[in-house]
């Protein structure tokens, strides 16, 4: 019998399993050893007896809805048909997956399923990759006895802006509804009218607006659920696929890139056990549309004296850039950005800046992330954080907004694996519901709460605006811990300096056997830092002053440690930087000090931008080099854990755009360096050869590893420096909490036509106490006034915002509250008044 797979074997395969309690069962006459209690359907698949199924999904609880997986099981009482997805294995089971009775059952189940299922496969989007179609061909009846009229429904109905439902195709397998309630806890779709008219639907006027809605399309075993970006764009047999890694955030989910006629059309999740379990968020799944955007930069541009851009040839552009680099004194040249790059491109640019030009003014982040020192803390992988029975201190951004698939993993860990989460965040987050304890310290005073968690005594009136009772309940969770303790560390609040987070980490680093998962939002910050795109560090993470390798390989070497992004912008504003290279960075939009970024870009003589889009900062550049985007570049990327995995090119970049690393290598040659590297592979191996901590991540190893390769996570020399002072509380002001949301007006989402318009309307969140004091309710317009800027927004009164804080969101609209920030301050105070 033909073996068929369910929706692509890369996304659905039995979970990896170590057999600790073996039992012997007989499958189709063969004696095999399986884990006691694992589901029969998985045990058989692992032993080369694939059982057809529709409703069973290895990452969700079995429900036995579809009956397609019926097999004959004999446990001593004679053989009987049993649904193999509901039967745990036990010793001496005798299983037949191919007997005549099983074949008849499969035949019958399929005839039932097809009774009301339209037979219009040629016009169905799923045709060609449809489990129902495939299994009907393999196991089903040749003909139907059904002669009556089939069901008809209005088609399609929009269950969310991204997902469409054709109800007549649905076979009621419960996969999408189970996903919504079990995996994401967004049960906004449900079986309605249960009985002979059961259908999947939403509540009227309450769409399935989950950040994870695209997964339901991926797991639908028929053509009932389709995604608007892909619906009727291609046939499965015209698609070419390659496995890659998503770089939209730093979780690094494994994906397949699927293209037709050199155009990316779809991204699906791959089941990577240590990372994403086959799930993706909708931003990761659908923002590839930006790759196909008409706004892509396609040719190098040169600014004319009147301010407009002229397209020029690459040879001219590179010669012009090389001239600028050669004529700038090393200490007057700075490079910003690089989190969008592959590891190899980051290494190429780090080598160019530090080893050829000789400047250390290089930073992959824009002052909106964490200092690179966090990567010296003892590291934890996502699996370490989610290990059953463990305890987690979550001190980062709202995971559902910034690291969506990590949210799914943490939620699963808390709900299913007894992981206890102590949430230390500026406001309530999506994780609060699952946390064993939540405390919301006043921005700027995170370290004081971390100190309490690490053992400092609790004053009666509490710490950092958190009362003593809440601190004690958080502390009791930690003292009850008997499993591993991990800390998820990130920049929850853009209005709170990264130095404050670092000081908090320093406090927690004193806890016994603690390890850290540093989460930074952008895709490849960790890889860029490991490749040397951060001040004071070299490729491989070593410090500038204790180098033993790169100074001997590179033609030049930085004379002194450089400045970080905010330092670079300050220096530029003071006229100390004459050439600024932007590697996909947009300081005008993202630096947590817009006035400073404005002054810096004003003052710099030459701005060279490598970008895919004309972002606000790129519009100020003098030379613009168009570069390739994810899906167009071969290389590797490193996620927040330190997991190095391959990204692959599937389509060609538009126009003459090219990968960033080629630009760096070409420029290095033009500046006279003898650099042999001519491929991403050679760059990777050059990087690994000089970086002991990256050993084991050679190109060939990473290329062969579906789940990527973890770098050495043992602690480096962690030196947080002196703790920053605690900012004074001004009782007339509210302290600003500036967070990010998944759907914002960032350059990728703005250019993904399906995702435009999904961002929320900006509001200012205040506590119920402050709302009473001001006499306002949700919707009342309020002025948020800072020293530099002010904005009027409707109030959102919420119990999730602590008293004394005002919660705003970055980049939801053109007028962006990031303009309130002053990078010279550790926290930002604002006045909130009636408009």
């Amino acid at each position: 019998m033909t073996s068929v797979t369910n929706g692509g074997s890369m996304s659905e395969r039995p979970r990896p399993l170590e057999i600790t309690d073996p039992v012997t069962i007989t499958v189709d006459g063969r004696s095999v050893e399986v884990q006691r209690g694992e589901l029969l359907i998985d045990a058989c698949e692992r032993n080369d007896a694939y059982i057809p199924r529709f409703c069973y999904h290895p990452r969700m609880e079995p429900v036995g809805m579809c009956r397609m997986c019926l097999v004959e099981v004999d446990t001593g009482r004679g053989p009987a048909l049993q649904p193999s997805c509901m039967i745990p294995t036990a010793a001496d089971m005798v299983v037949s997956t191919t007997s005549d009775l099983v074949a008849k059952a499969q035949d019958g189940v399929l005839e039932f399923l097809l009774a009301n299922h339209p037979l219009d496969c040629p016009v169905c989007d799923k045709g060609g990759e449809c489990p129902l179609q495939d299994q009907t061909m393999s196991y089903g009846p040749g003909e139907s006895r059904w002669v009556e009229e089939k069901r008809h429904y209005e088609k399609p109905i929009e269950i969310s802006p991204l997902v469409l439902l054709d109800r007549e195709r649905c076979i009621l397998c419960d996969r999408c509804t189970r996903f919504a309630s079990e995996v994401t806890d967004d049960p906004l779709i449900h079986f309605i009218n249960r009985g002979s008219n059961t259908e999947v639907n939403t509540f009227p006027g309450d769409p399935f607006s989950s950040y994870f809605s695209g997964n339901t399309v991926q797991i639908c075993p028929v053509g009932a659920l389709t995604a608007t970006p892909y619906r009727f764009r291609a046939r499965p047999w015209d698609l070419e696929r390659t496995e890659s890694t998503c770089t939209v955030c730093s979780v690094g989910c494994r994906v397949t890139l699927e293209s037709s006629r050199d155009r990316l059309l779809r991204i699906n999740g791959v089941d990577s056990d240590p990372v994403n379990w086959s799930w993706l968020c909708d931003a990761g799944r659908f923002s590839f549309e930006a790759t196909n955007s008409k706004d892509r930069l396609t040719d190098p541009l040169h600014r004319r004296s009147d301010g407009s851009f002229d397209p020029i040839r690459w040879s001219e552009a590179l010669a012009a850039v090389a001239d600028v680099l050669a004529s700038t004194a090393p200490e007057r040249l700075a490079v910003l950005g690089g989190a969008r790059l592959t590891d190899e491109a980051a290494f190429a640019w780090a080598s160019l800046a530090k080893g050829v030009v000789g400047t250390d003014h290089v930073d992959a982040q824009l002052g909106d992330g964490l200092p690179a020192d966090v990567f010296d803390l003892p590291g934890a992988s996502i699996d370490d954080v989610c290990r059953p029975g463990g305890t987690v201190i979550y001190m980062g951004p709202d995971p559902k907004e910034e690291l969506p698939v990590l949210f799914l993993r943490l939620k699963h860990a808390a709900v299913r694996d007894r992981v206890r989460i102590v949430e230390v965040t500026p406001t309530a987050t999506s994780l609060s519901l699952y946390a064993a304890a939540s405390v919301h310290p006043r921005p700027g005073e995170l370290a004081a709460v971390a100190g309490v968690l690490a053992g400092a005594s609790i004053p009666d009136d509490g710490v950092a605006g958190v009362d003593a009772e809440h601190l004690r309940s958080a502390l009791s969770v930690l003292s009850d811990a008997d499993g591993p303790l991990t800390v998820v560390l990130g920049r929850a609040n853009l209005a709170e300096s990264g130095a404050v987070v670092l000081a908090a980490a320093a406090q927690l680093a004193g806890l016994p056997d603690v390890s850290f998962l540093p989460v930074v939002r952008r895709g490849n910050v960790r890889g860029a830092v490991a490749a040397g795109l951060t001040p004071g560090r070299l490729p491989g993470g070593g410090r500038l002053d204790s180098d033993t390798h790169w100074s001997s390989v590179w033609p030049t070497f930085p004379a002194a440690p450089g400045a970080d992004a905010l330092g670079i912008l300050s220096a530029a504003a003071a006229g100390e930087i004459s050439t600024l290279v932007l590697l996909g960075a947009d300081p005008l939009s993202d630096a947590p000090d817009r006035a400073l970024a404005e002054r810096a870009l004003e003052r710099v003589e030459t701005i060279i931008a490598l970008d895919a889009f004309e972002q606000p900062s790129v519009a100020r550049a003098h030379i613009v080099l168009p570069v390739a985007m994810p899906g167009e570049v071969d290389g590797t990327t490193t996620n927040a854990e330190g997991r190095v995995s391959r990204v692959r090119a599937k389509v060609t970049p538009p126009g003459t755009a090219r990968p960033d690393w080629i630009v760096a290598v070409e420029l290095a040659r033009r500046l006279g360096a003898e650099w042999q590297a001519g491929t991403a592979e050679e760059l990777r191996n050059e990087l690994v050869a000089g970086s002991p901590r990256l050993s084991g991540t050679e190109w060939s190893v990473v290329d062969a590893a579906t789940d990527g390769v973890l770098v050495d996570l043992s602690a480096g020399t962690f030196d947080p420096g002196p703790p920053p002072p605690v900012p004074q509380v001004d009782s007339y002001s509210l302290r600003l909490v500036l967070t990010r949301e998944l759907y914002d007006h960032g350059e990728m989402l703005e250019r993904s036509e399906s995702l435009v318009g999904l961002s929320r309307t900006p509001t200012v969140g205040i506590s119920t106490g402050d709302a009473e004091r001001l006499g306002v309710t949700s919707g009342t317009p309020l002025v948020v006034r800072g020293e530099r800027w002010s904005i009027t927004l409707p109030a959102r009164v919420s119990t999730g915002v602590p008293r004394g804080s005002a919660h705003l969101v970055h980049r939801l609209a053109d007028s962006d509250p990031i303009a309130l920030l002053d990078s010279g301050e550790l926290a930002c105070d604002v006045r909130v008044e009636l408009a």
């Binding site: 036990a90 049960p187 779709i189 449900h190 009218n193 249960r194 509540f203 006027g205 309450d206």
Partner: protein
């Protein structure tokens, strides 16, 4: 479209209190909403979802399973004529046809004045009293055409037998009202111990496996 009135919201909160898990109160609250409005409105389902802490889709999924929850407006009286075997052989079909002609609506429809919704239902467990029908789920037995006409006249005029039937949605005229402290034998699931047979079976299983 209405949510719960303040009085009913108080009752609803009391009902939620009676259960170890708030979600268990979904069906009682749907009844309460139907009692208030005669049918289950969209707003009421949203309000139920808020009170029991789930999504409106889950409330709709539950409510739409049950015939007796009406998701669209119905008349003051639901006239359910049984047309299952016992009633049919003594003339239920004729009764239904007569009612359709008399009311001017097909089974499933509501009269223009909003008084009566006529329904054709399966067995209502009154076979010994066939043919039987229900008005708002209260039985009227051994019905013939004349009795049906008289009943319809009463229901339309609101006199005579009409007084036996409270408006559609009313479950009972006496409300059970338990003070939150008066609950007995309610153990939250997380505090429940395993039944004895549960662990005994588990032991037997593993012994079998080991042999």
């Amino acid at each position: 479209m209405p949510r719960f009135t303040p009085d009913n919201e108080t009752i609803a909160r009391n009902i939620v209190e009676r259960y170890p898990l708030p979600k268990s109160a979904t069906i009682p609250l749907c009844h309460l909403a139907q009692e208030q409005d005669g049918y289950l409105t969209t707003d009421a389902m949203e309000h139920v979802a808020e009170l029991v802490g789930c999504t409106p889709a889950e409330v709709l999924g539950t409510a739409s399973f049950y015939e007796m929850f009406k998701l669209h407006p119905v008349g003051r009286y639901c006239l359910n004529i049984c047309t299952n075997i016992s009633c049919r052989i003594v003339g239920a079909r004729e009764l239904l046809e007569h009612a359709e002609g008399r009311l001017g609506v097909r089974a499933g429809g509501t009269t223009a004045d909003g008084t009566i919704t006529l329904e054709d239902v399966e067995c209502i467990a009154a076979c010994t009293e066939a043919p039987a029908l229900q008005v708002n789920y209260r039985y009227v037995e051994r019905v013939d055409v004349e009795a049906l006409d008289a009943l319809i006249d009463d229901l339309r005029s609101g006199t005579g037998r009409a007084e036996e039937f409270p408006p559609h949605g009313t479950l009972g005229l006496i409300r059970q009202d338990l003070a939150p402290g008066d609950l007995a034998n309610v153990t939250p699931p997380e505090d429940q111990t395993e039944p004895v047979w549960f662990s005994r079976n588990a032991t037997t299983d593993s012994e079998e496996g080991a042999s």
